[in-house]
Amino acid sequence: MIGKLLTRDRRRILYAFIAGIVLFAIGQAVRPGFASFDGIRSILVVASFVGLVAAGQTFVILIGGIDLSVPWVLNAGAILMVTSSLGSDARAIPALALTLGMGALVGALNGAGIALLGIPAVVMTLAMNGIMQGLTLGLSGGMTCTNCGAYAPPIVQAAVHSRFLGLPIVLWLWLGIIIIVSFVLGATRFGRSTYTVGNNARASHLAGINVSVVTIVLYALSGLFAALAGIMLVGFGGQAALGMGEPYLFQSIAAVVIGGVYILGGRGHYLGSVAGAISLTVLVSVLLAFNMPDYGRSIIYGVVILALLLLYGREEDSA
């Protein structure tokens, strides 16, 4: 009975959550109060940014792709949000729509290049990252715009900082996204198409699935989520900064993989990526609680990822 409920994929999600809980316990032992309600809440807020990016990364990794354009789509989203809203609530809604639209459009272009022009995903999204970096730096003039009120509108800041039933609104938003994404992947035609394409694109095509459309939509979603993470980050910090998206590339990929999503596609759940995002964020916080210097954090971060991979990320069939 338990064996049947705990399929391999579910077991991996469970492991990732357990890793997070163990890390919380270690943190609590090192620094009492680490795993208090306040402590957990603030770690979850930080994890939500990784988790949002990881939602998009999960989508594209499920079809065996990867999105390396995340850093500068996120960064462009953050800067577009503050420069188009000019820090006023009245303009917040159009600015939100513009920013999310930009993210989805850039993502769709990624998908189109991969699906229609046959460019490898690594190359397409890597080039797109450069294109977005150049556009962002060029159009913002290196962020020298000091008098244009480059702040996030108060309601966007409130979305991260103010609370509803004890939790910041961004966490409710993340919860909503977790439910929607899990539903879309688990219980809709589109979700089934995604797994099918990830398992075998050619067979999916022969079975009547429009592989190109699925690919384009998934990459558009990845761009959308990166832009959304950018919006939430400016809400969190109040301002946009150049290079703010860089840490989210490797973190989002690591979160997805730690959560048991198979890097070659076709297997895994967003809930796993959520667990991965939380575990990674707790890990970083624990290392900070140890007063670990930068280099030590970097080394342990890599070692822990390797350990988790060796624990449950191994291929079944060795060639």
């Binding site: 046959g118 450069g130 690591a254 060796l310």
Partner: protein
């Protein structure tokens, strides 16, 4: 190329010739691309400076390219086995940092440390290879994790940019006065030609094309993969040494950008990310194309803030046109 096929006397030879063309279409393309870049660079340089680029430009371009050339070579060894090495930047960081801390001594000590640094690079690659082959982990994940580890060790070795590289070392690897780096191009070509003919070289291509088939032909896939990553590590260490020689100092973060640019150079050089196709020579030329594009953009008076925008567009245009030409040539066969 109809001219070539007409000249061939027998059907067998013609088959071999067009087979060679199909096998090396990536190499032919990158050489054409590089030629176009060099011509474009000379024209734009002439318009900007009212003279043609001379020895100084040649020397600085060569010295700037060599680290990337070795990084691209490192990437090629691994990508040929259908892997990918994201830790290239980390190995360059680490070896660069060690170089800055150790090379400034008597010549014999410098020479010994140079060998030690190459061994360190090889050890890094060995770790990657063992984790991939024996640990049965995905290359992209292993090297993502080891990238973080190598970066951390590099910062521990050299917390602040600095250290000193002896002038003698610089004059050998990246002589600022004479284009001596020109010598390294045929050297890489010879090394690659030898590698391609060794048992290991053949195995690397076989494993990249079809690991199961290679295995059933008696090739040890694990051994091949481990050695390919190890060679990649040594090549990354070379990149770290050339970078140190060129900068005459060390920096534990200077290698970070090479992870992605090494992939760009390899892809431009016709190395297929799906394994088994491409060559180190192509990657070398791909590195030169990458650097020449930056040079062209510089002399085109493009706002440097937009630089990555044009690089991205160029990468896409190059890959799309290479795809189209490649499939055209294959269809004609």
């Amino acid at each position: 190329m109809p001219e070539q096929t007409v000249l061939m006397p027998s059907g067998v030879r013609r088959g071999r010739m067009s087979h060679a063309l199909v096998q090396n279409v990536g190499l032919v393309l990158v050489i054409s691309l590089l030629s176009a870049c060099i011509i474009g660079y000379c024209v734009i340089y002439y318009i900007a400076q009212h003279r043609f680029p001379g020895g100084f430009e040649l020397t600085s371009t060569l010295d700037n390219t060599m680290p990337l050339a070795f990084a691209a070579l490192a990437q090629t060894f691994v990508v040929l086995t259908r892997g990918i090495d994201l830790s290239v930047g980390g190995v360059i960081d680490l070896t660069n940092a060690v170089a800055a801390q150790t090379l400034n001594g008597p010549p014999l000590q410098t020479a010994l440390w140079t060998v030690a640094i190459l061994l360190i690079g090889g050890a890094c690659g060995l770790v990657n290879g063992v984790l991939v082959a024996v640990g049965r982990l995905q290359p992209i994940l292993v090297t993502l994790a080891t990238l973080s580890i190598f970066q951390g060790i590099a910062i521990r070795v050299l917390p602040q940019p600095g250290g000193a590289i002896p002038p003698g070392f610089t004059s050998v690897l990246a002589n600022p006065n004479y284009p001596t780096s020109l010598l390294y191009i045929p050297l890489i070509g010879i090394i690659w030609a030898i590698f391609r003919r060794t048992r290991l070289g053949v195995s690397v291509y076989a494993v990249g094309n079809d690991a199961t088939a290679a295995s059933s032909h008696g090739i040890s896939v694990k051994r091949t993969v481990i050695l390919a990553y190890t060679l990649g590590g040594v090549a990354s260490a070379m990149a770290g040494l050339f970078l140190a020689a060129n900068a005459t100092a060390g920096d534990a973060t200077t290698g970070d950008t090479y992870t992605l640019t090494s992939i760009v150079a390899a892809v431009l050089g016709g190395v297929s990310l799906f394994g088994g196709r491409g060559s180190g020579l192509g990657a070398l030329f791909g590195a030169f194309v990458t650097v020449m594009v930056v040079n062209i953009l510089f002399f085109s008076h493009i706002d440097p803030l937009y630089q990555t925008f044009y690089e991205g567009l160029f990468l896409l245009a190059a890959v799309v046109s290479a795809n189209m030409i490649g499939s055209f040539v294959r269809r004609r066969r």
